[in-house]
Structures are given as structure tokens and as C-alpha cells.
């Protein structure tokens, strides 16, 4: 029976809004709306989730410690105050955590006992687009999370943070790329890790790459520990922190912008591809 023949019975396509690529965009938008609805319902937990860590970090290291007489070993950098070093790093951490929380945790649950993912993959979308939607939606949350850190860094530290943006385009580009990277990492974790072990992943992957991600110090300062300076180049978080450093606190030493952007694109593509393969492997037998 031909396709036209099927339309004649008057059921098939009466409501299926649009044809061709239009339906794909509508389906993608539909998934986005769904995620947005769920997020609005959990808006306060969302704020707490993304805000608590940078808040406490800033409070302890830039408010409490500077007030203690000799208790601030982290201020040993000298030229620049710690708050200024920390701001881009904390933005990177916020992006990372919210990317993982927005993709890896829900995916792992949806792949788990409930198999809710079976519902989402029945959308009239190619499967890669279902995964892409997850990454894009998490990127949006990551950007919000990163921007939330800025007012905190402005009000909390004892010594005001010296942030100034020369290149708004660079900031936007780095924010978007870093957020997509975090979402892709979330996709890798969510689709390859057994749901039962998702907690373990936080301890053995997320925490180490954060601590060794040039979050609390610029990459250039690692020059005294050469092996580490080259070792961390495999860590995508380094480029997120350094990228934001270049964009938000350009006066602090940072990697060249072009190198950061190339690395961000590379890691996003590599993790995205890996995550997508895992995703397809999980939904398609």
C-alpha cells in the first residue's frame, strides 16, 4: 500500500503537525519543553544544587580564611587575590556539575528499572537528536549555573574580585562550548555507567577531574610541577577553567585563547561521539 493510500483512511496524519524536517524541529522542541516543565517544578532544588558548592567555596576560601591571621595558604599566589583566581574555576565547576546532574543522573534512571527512555526514543526523531536534546538542555542549565557564580563572587569575598570582560564574544563562545562539553561528558557517564555505580563515578571521575582541572590555580602556575602540567592536558575541565579565565579575568595568566577553543571543540566532539555510541547501544538492541 502506498503512503498516499494510507492517508486516505483519514487517521494517520490528520494531527501529526507538519511534514519533513518541520516535524523533527517540533519534536525536538517538544522534548525541550518537557525538560523545561520538569525543571520548573524542581527550580529550588536546581538552584541549591548548582549554587551550594560555589557559595560555600567562596565563603570559606575568600571570606573566612582571609580573616584569619596566618591561615590562608591559598593566597600564596601573591600578585592576584584568590577570589579572582577562583571565579572562573568555580564557574567551570558549576558548569561541570550541572552538566552531569542534568544528563547523567536522569539518563541513568531512565535507562534503569523504569526504562522511561523507551518512551522518549519513540518520538519521531532520529535517535541522535534525542541525545542531542539532552545535551543542549543541560548546556542551558550549565550556563545559568555559571552565571549564578558571578554575583556570588561579587558579594562574598573579603577582597573584591577583579573581573572584567574584554571580549564578550569569547565569553559567550567559551560558556556555550564548555556547557556542551559538560553535557557530552554527562552523556558518556549516563549511557555507559551502570545505574548502581553512578555514585561511585562521582568519587572516582568527577571529583578528581575537578580538583585537577586548574580550578583553584591557573594552568601556568603548574610550571613548577612539569609532569602534572602536561598530565592535566588530558583533562577537559582544564580548558573550561582556562577558557573562562581568559574571558572573565584576562589579567590572570591563562592559555592562549585559540588553543583553549580548539581543545574545547575537540573534547566536545570526542565525548559527544562516545556518549552517542553508548546511548545508541543502550536504546537499540
Amino acid at each position: 500500500m502506498s503512503k498516499t493510500g494510507n492517508r486516505d483512511h483519514g487517521l494517520g496524519n490528520r494531527d501529526a503537525g507538519g511534514h519533513g524536517p518541520a516535524i523533527f524541529f517540533k519534536a525536538f522542541f517538544g522534548l525541550f519543553l518537557r525538560d523545561f516543565r520538569v525543571l520548573t517544578r524542581e527550580f529550588l532544588p536546581f538552584l541549591l544544587r548548582v549554587g551550594m558548592q560555589p557559595l560555600l567555596f567562596l565563603f570559606v576560601f575568600t571570606f573566612i580564611l582571609p580573616r584569619m591571621a596566618s591561615g590562608n595558604p591559598l593566597a600564596a599566589g601573591g600578585k592576584v587575590d584568590f577570589g579572582t583566581i577562583l571565579l572562573p574555576g568555580l564557574m567551570a565547576v558549576a558548569i561541570m556539575f550541572s552538566g552531569i546532574a542534568a544528563v547523567a543522573l536522569p539518563l541513568s534512571a531512565e535507562f534503569g528499572i523504569t526504562r522511561e527512555i523507551d518512551d522518549r526514543v519513540m518520538c519521531p526523531l532520529p535517535l541522535w537528536a534525542v541525545a542531542l536534546e539532552k545535551v543542549c538542555f543541560s548546556a542551558m542549565q550549565s550556563i545559568v549555573a555559571a552565571l549564578l557564580v558571578i554575583p556570588m563572587a561579587y558579594y562574598i569575598p573579603a577582597i573584591p574580585v577583579r573581573a572584567h570582560v574584554d571580549n564578550w564574544f569569547l565569553l559567550a563562545l567559551v560558556l556555550v562550548l564548555a556547557s556542551l562539553l559538560a553535557g557530552s561528558l554527562g552523556l558518556v557517564i549516563g549511557s555507559t555507567v551502570n545505574p548502581k555505580q553512578i555514585g561511585l563515578v562521582f568519587s572516582i571521575i568527577v571529583v578528581p577531574i575537578t580538583f585537577l582541572g586548574c580550578v583553584y590555580y591557573p594552568w601556568a602556575w603548574l610550571s613548577k610541577i612539569r609532569w602534572l602540567q602536561y598530565g592535566v592536558l588530558f583533562n577537559p575541565i582544564v580548558y573550561m577553567s582556562e577558557g573562562l579565565r581568559a574571558a572573565v579575568t584576562p589579567n590572570v595568566e591563562h592559555m592562549p585563547s585559540w588553543a583553549i577553543l580548539v581543545a574545547l571543540v575537540f573534547f566536545t566532539a570526542a565525548l559527544g561521539r562516545w556518549g552517542l555510541r553508548g546511548f545508541l547501544g543502550r536504546v537499540l538492541s
Partner: protein, 313 residues
């Protein structure tokens, strides 16, 4: 034909090579309710998974409304509604939102999605529960929401995978009437089941499958006439020793179609039980007859004749 399944195979290559589907050919007509009947592991769910784009076939082809589901899965999904074996309702959304967003995924506008969701809530008598979350629903209600969701985008074909598994009898009846109701809408339904009554009362036509193959195909009446105008007697015996002459004697009777020793006794398939039953019981008494089961002519006897085993085994 609205669903065309041609020479479909699916082989899982892992440590253990499993041939889940072994050359299935099926064609479904517009508007019919078609049952796939078979025991667990017969290949029903795999067949449905391939037809609904959630698994890739090893070879063969499936077309839904003329669209090849392997080549154009996203396009084919617009014509497909699925009620999976397990509850896959979106746990983060209410019942109403499950329906509403499903419509949005299929390109409905806000107003249109809203009116369709409300219409479905009414049709499936779920209006009172529109703001409830799926976790708070009983199995029967969740199944109803799943059916409502599956047909929300007005698919051409609805796939129901073991729709009554885990439902209490009352919910099962409600589910059956919901499926019957779909007949009016002209939706083609493919359902898998291992419940004889379900296959018998719901389907216009059905295929009996086992070991990934179609063993018989036809309307329930046709199947019963062709294969099943027989009664099956299962005798459980304490001992098998010296049973052979009894089996041979039974086989020799004109009214007996087949007689064979089974693991725990004797199975006799016969056209009628008149006169046979007392003789059989008398003969079996010597072997310590401890139980006798008689299955009257039904789809179940058809199945036993075709596969040599019980669906419930």
C-alpha cells in the same frame, strides 16, 4: 497491507548464540486486531521491538504503512503507537502531562495537544486522575494511560506487548474493552500475548509462534477447526515401566490422534472422549494414576498440538 513483515530474523550473538526470530513473515490488514500468541521466549517481543524501531533485525524487512522501519525509523515512528511490556510512563510528569507532551513530541500545537490530552482522559475514564503521578497509579490504570498515550498521535498501527501481563482480572477486562474500542477508530492493532483467552476473544486473526517461527496463522475459528477439534488428556503417573504397550494400544484406537509418554506420564490427543476416558483411566490405574487433566478443544489444544507443550510450562 498496513504492516508487512518479510523473512525477519534476529540473532543475538553473544556468549550464547540465540536465534530469537527465525524467518517470520506476516501481513496485517488495515483495521484488524492481530494476535501473536506464543510462550515466553518465542520471539514475540523481539518481533515487536524490531517493528517499532527499538531493535535492528539481522535480516529481513518490516514496513509500516509502506515505510521501511530500518531505513526510516524516525518517519516510521509517526505511524506507530507502542504499549510496552513494562510501564514506561514519564515518572516526572502527571498523567495529563504525559499525554500532553507526547502530543507535543509529535508536532501538535499547544492548543491541539491540550484538547487531545483532555479528550483521551475522558475516553479512558482518567479525567479524575489527570494530576496524579504515574507512581501513584495501580497497574491497570497505568496500563490505560499507556494505551491512551500510545494512540494520542493517532498512529496507524498500535503495538501492544503483553498488555495484560501483571493485571488483575478486572483490569484485564477493562483493558480488553479499551482495545475493542480502538476497533471503532480504525487503528490496526498487533498484540502479543501468552493468554489463550485474550488471543481468542480479541483477535480477528492470529499467528501462533514458537522458537521464532510462525507455526500457524488464521482466525481463531479457522485455527480451531484446522488443528484443534481435539481434546487433550494429560495423565500423571507414578511409574513409566511397561507403559509402551498401553501407548501402542491407545494409538491403535481410531478415535485417538496421538498418544505418547511424557516426562511424568502420558498425553493423549483424541477427537472425542466418548468411551476413551474410562478405558484410559482403567489402563493407567496400574501405573499409579495420580492426576488427570482434560483440555477441551480450544486455542490451547491447538497450541499443544502444534508445539507439543503447554503455554504455561
Amino acid at each position: 497491507m498496513i504492516v508487512e513483515i518479510e523473512a525477519l530474523t534476529k540473532i543475538y550473538e553473544s556468549k550464547l548464540r540465540v536465534v530469537a526470530v527465525n524467518g517470520i513473515d506476516l501481513e496485517l490488514k488495515q483495521g484488524e486486531i492481530f494476535g501473536l500468541l506464543g510462550p515466553n521466549g518465542a520471539g514475540k517481543t523481539t518481533t515487536i521491538s524490531i517493528a517499532t524501531t527499538r531493535a535492528l533485525p539481522t535480516s529481513g524487512r518490516v514496513r509500516i504503512a509502506g515505510i521501511d522501519v530500518v531505513k526510516h525509523p524516525a518517519h516510521a515512528r509517526r505511524h506507530i503507537g507502542v504499549v510496552p511490556q513494562f510501564n514506561t510512563l514519564d515518572r516526572s510528569l502527571t498523567v495529563y502531562e504525559n499525554l500532553y507532551f507526547h502530543c507535543r513530541y509529535f508536532g501538535f500545537s499547544h492548543a491541539h495537544a491540550k484538547s487531545r490530552a483532555l479528550e483521551l482522559l475522558h475516553q479512558f475514564m482518567l479525567t479524575e486522575r489527570k494530576d496524579v503521578y504515574p507512581a501513584q497509579l495501580s497497574g491497570g490504570l497505568a496500563q490505560r494511560v499507556q494505551i491512551a498515550r500510545a494512540i494520542a498521535h493517532r498512529p496507524t498501527v498500535l503495538f501492544l506487548d503483553e498488555p495484560s501481563a501483571g493485571l488483575d482480572p478486572q483490569s484485564r477486562m477493562a483493558m480488553w474493552s479499551a482495545v475493542e474500542g480502538l476497533r471503532k477508530e480504525g487503528i490496526t492493532v498487533l498484540l502479543t500475548t501468552h493468554y489463550m483467552e485474550e488471543a481468542d476473544s480479541l483477535s480477528d486473526r492470529l499467528a501462533i509462534i514458537d522458537y521464532g517461527k510462525v507455526l500457524a496463522l488464521g482466525s481463531p475459528e479457522e485455527l480451531k477447526q484446522t488443528f484443534g477439534a481435539h481434546t487433550v488428556f494429560d495423565l500423571k503417573l507414578r511409574t513409566h515401566e511397561g507403559l509402551e504397550p498401553v501407548v501402542a494400544a491407545l494409538k491403535a484406537r481410531p478415535d485417538v490422534t496421538s498418544a505418547e509418554a511424557t516426562a511424568d506420564g502420558l498425553r493423549v490427543i483424541a477427537a472425542s472422549s466418548d468411551g476413551l476416558l474410562p478405558d484410559m483411566v482403567q489402563a493407567a490405574a496400574r501405573f499409579g494414576l495420580r492426576d488427570l487433566k482434560i483440555v477441551e478443544p480450544s486455542l490451547e489444544t491447538v497450541f499443544i498440538q502444534l508445539t507439543g507443550r503447554d503455554l504455561r510450562e
